[in-house]
């Protein structure tokens, strides 16, 4: 057969002579295939599914893979991390307030205070001590101090302590001149002593905040909340957008026209304004609902937290529009295809056609759009929380941690910049991975 086909090569005429002669073949010209021949018809390699094919393409994309690994590490940090830290995000540790993410060892601390005492003398005594010191001196000389003198000493001591003295040395000078290096992780004085006594004390890796809450645990929990918000919001958008878009696209005609006018209307509503209002509104309402009884719905609200739910609702109510437009566009194209006509001829109902034939065929677009909603939801959540209308205490998110950090920006910059960096890296990796996913699932789009 193969040789004969070659004869027709180069000609536009189809080679039909062969085929015509097939009509004259006698019955006996056929013989059943041997076992070996049948074997050869079975494909040697497994058929590659759509997802495997996409995964193969994705794996070749170095940037996307690196982004995925980094994101998985952050997710691991956020979801598994809190189990390894003995503190909780709302636990206030007495005596460990405002710790830096570094510490000086006990010996170094002693050296620093010795240095300060040497250079500042009584300067570092507190007013009462200074007065007592002076009185003792005066008694030794057989004099008594007048009230005015006591007041002067007290004032001088206060001044020295608050940094009024000009050649007064500070702890920073001491550290510089003694060449002391600070050690990583924060420990309070009490914790250092316990550690010296041989106890196993978990360090405050990122320090603690004003209220003595461990920053690292808070960042872990915050990142977890941000990821959950992102994923849930994206799923909600997918659900609403897919249903709305496919119904609008499949039905067409008047239904489509009316549904598209509604979409246009929602599209032109300034979303951030409404989301700000919505999340301010829903949160107290949900709180009230949560306290109203003990039904399964109420416990769901308790489990997730009213802040989070109000954020999902606000997000889901406004952001499905883009998704529905994309899906409608796809369905408008796909519903002209023969297989849809065939399905309809076989008596399939609209719902079945959408579910079994149309949506699976635009799965690439759907997955990509849904995935890229995650970083944008995280972005929006952090924006709302930063402004103080998103996630609020006792729960926390990266946005609200940053917002708390803003107050002490000049003294404790790391309180804002550590969570901000994690947030940015998270959004960056999700964006990069989403881009890679789009290229892998829909190679036609790649430029």
């Amino acid at each position: 057969m193969a040789e004969k086909k070659k004869a027709a090569f180069g000609s536009l005429q189809p080679d039909i002579e062969d085929i015509l002669s097939w009509n004259d073949l006698p019955q006996g010209a056929f013989e059943s295939a041997t076992a070996a021949e049948r074997e050869s018809f079975i494909q040697d390699r497994k058929s590659v599914s759509y997802w495997k094919d996409a995964w193969r393409r994705l794996r070749k994309n170095t940037v996307a893979m690196v982004a995925m690994v980094i994101f998985l590490l952050i997710a691991l940090f956020a979801f598994v991390g809190p189990f390894f830290v003995p503190y909780t995000h709302s636990q206030q540790i007495r005596g460990s307030e405002s710790l830096d993410p570094w510490h000086y060892s006990l010996e170094d601390q002693n050296r620093i205070s010795a240095y300060l005492e040497e250079h500042n003398g009584v300067g570092l005594m507190n007013p009462d001590e200074a007065v007592a010191h002076a009185q003792a001196q005066a008694e030794a000389e057989g004099k008594t101090l007048s009230r005015a003198e006591i007041a002067r000493i007290r004032a001088q001591a206060t001044l020295n302590q608050t940094g009024g003295g000009e050649d007064r040395k500070t702890a920073e000078d001491a550290v510089k001149e003694l060449g002391i290096k600070h050690k990583p992780f924060g420990y309070s004085q009490a914790e250092l002593e316990r550690k010296a006594a041989g106890e196993d004390v978990f360090p405050h890796v990122f320090g603690t905040d004003d209220l003595g809450r461990d920053s690292m645990v808070r960042i872990m929990v915050g990142a977890r909340v941000s990821i959950i918000v992102g994923i849930c919001a994206a799923l909600l958008v997918l659900l609403i957008g897919a249903i709305y878009g496919s119904v609008s696209g499949y039905c067409g005609g008047t239904v489509d026209a009316v549904m598209q006018r509604i979409v246009e209307l929602i599209y032109s509503i300034p979303e951030v304004l409404v989301i700000l209002l919505l999340s301010a509104t829903l949160k107290p309402g949900l709180d009230e609902f949560q306290n109203s009884g003990n039904g399964p719905l109420q416990s769901l609200v308790t489990l997730l937290g009213s802040n989070l739910i109000s954020m999902f609702i606000a997000f889901g109510m406004l952001y499905w529009v883009t998704m529905s437009r994309i899906i409608r566009g796809q369905i408008l194209q796909l519903k002209q295809q023969e297989y849809v006509t065939a399905a309809r001829a076989l008596g399939a109902k609209g719902g079945r056609i959408i579910k079994r034939h149309l949506l699976p065929n635009c799965i690439g677009q759907i997955v990509t759009t849904t995935f890229l909603q995650i970083p944008s939801a995280i972005f929006l959540e952090s924006f709302l929380s930063f402004l103080g209308v998103g996630v609020s205490a006792p729960l926390t998110s990266l946005g609200s941690i940053c917002s708390e950090g803003l107050a002490g920006l000049s003294s404790y910059p790391y309180r804002l910049f550590i969570p901000a960096a994690i947030l940015s890296v998270m959004i960056l990796t999700l964006n990069l991975f989403g881009d890679g996913l789009r290229d892998a699932l829909d190679p036609r789009l790649k430029k």
Binding site: Q260, E264, L265, S268, I269, P270, V272, L273, V274, L276, L277, L278, A280, T281, P284, G285, E288, G329, L332, P375, F379, S382, F383, F386, L387, G388, V389, G399, C402, S403, L406, L409, S410, P413, L416, F417, A420, L423, S424, I427, L428, N431, L432, K447
Partner: protein, 311 residues
Amino acid sequence: MAKYTLKRVLMALLTLFVVACITFFLMHAIPGNPWLSEKTPSEAVINALNEKYGLNEPLIVQLGKYLGNLLRGDLGNSIKMQKNRPVLDIILEMFPVSAQVGVVAILWAVLVGVPLGCLAAYRRGTWVDSLLRVICTIGISMPGFVVATMLLHLLCGTGKPFPALFVSGSLASYVLPCAALGFYPMCYLSRQTRTAMLDAINQEYIKTARAKGLKNKKIIFKHALRNALIPVITYLGPQIAFTLCGGFVVETVFSIPGLGRYFIQSIQNRDYPLIMGTTLFLAAFIIVMNLLVDLAYKLVDPRINLTKGEN
């Protein structure tokens, strides 16, 4: 064109009406009332206050009255934050501050973003392209408050080039807020421009220009850029809206007495007329911007037929 414009204007008015209704019901659904403070007044005082400001009537009546006043251009008076001062006055005082920052931010975003996008497309595949792509991807992944606080921390305060406190009228205090606000749109615009530019470069008329013997630079910046700008323009409408909203964050970080910050405070204070006024004002601004951009789109590219729908 006239029919289309009319249709769009009507649609914009309808949107504004819907926004007014949504805002009205949402803000009344927020628990609490404007009279709550450290010293909660007695029941009788609250009733008298409610009666004075018409808050004791059914919501639907209140909404009707508000919309009626709105048609006459009366946005009502503030009931808490600046007692009895007309809302319109407050808005007209606050908006210029926000607008100055916003306009400068958008301007630098366009003037830097578009040429960078062209440059990336022009030097496609070289290190310039890669570097710009890295910067822009990072730029669109950093929330506004991260950029703003970083600038604030690094460049503001004593011994640093910019003042920590915002002073209206002082040029130096405008630099950082504008830089922070324009950073995201700059990155986004340059990405968009690059994509649109690469699309344009593959068109037939570029081949013609090349065949004619034109220089590469001239082809890119004269022939391709004009067509590449069309998708960029469509993006600018929502972007102006975004810049206003991003203004919330930048105004909070740099303590600028602008409209965005005031809007958030008015929600927290339940100052109903002020919430309505600021929301409607910002919404109207955003909607008008979108409308203008859509009409400009049609003027720039006569091939586009807007009346037929998007497919």
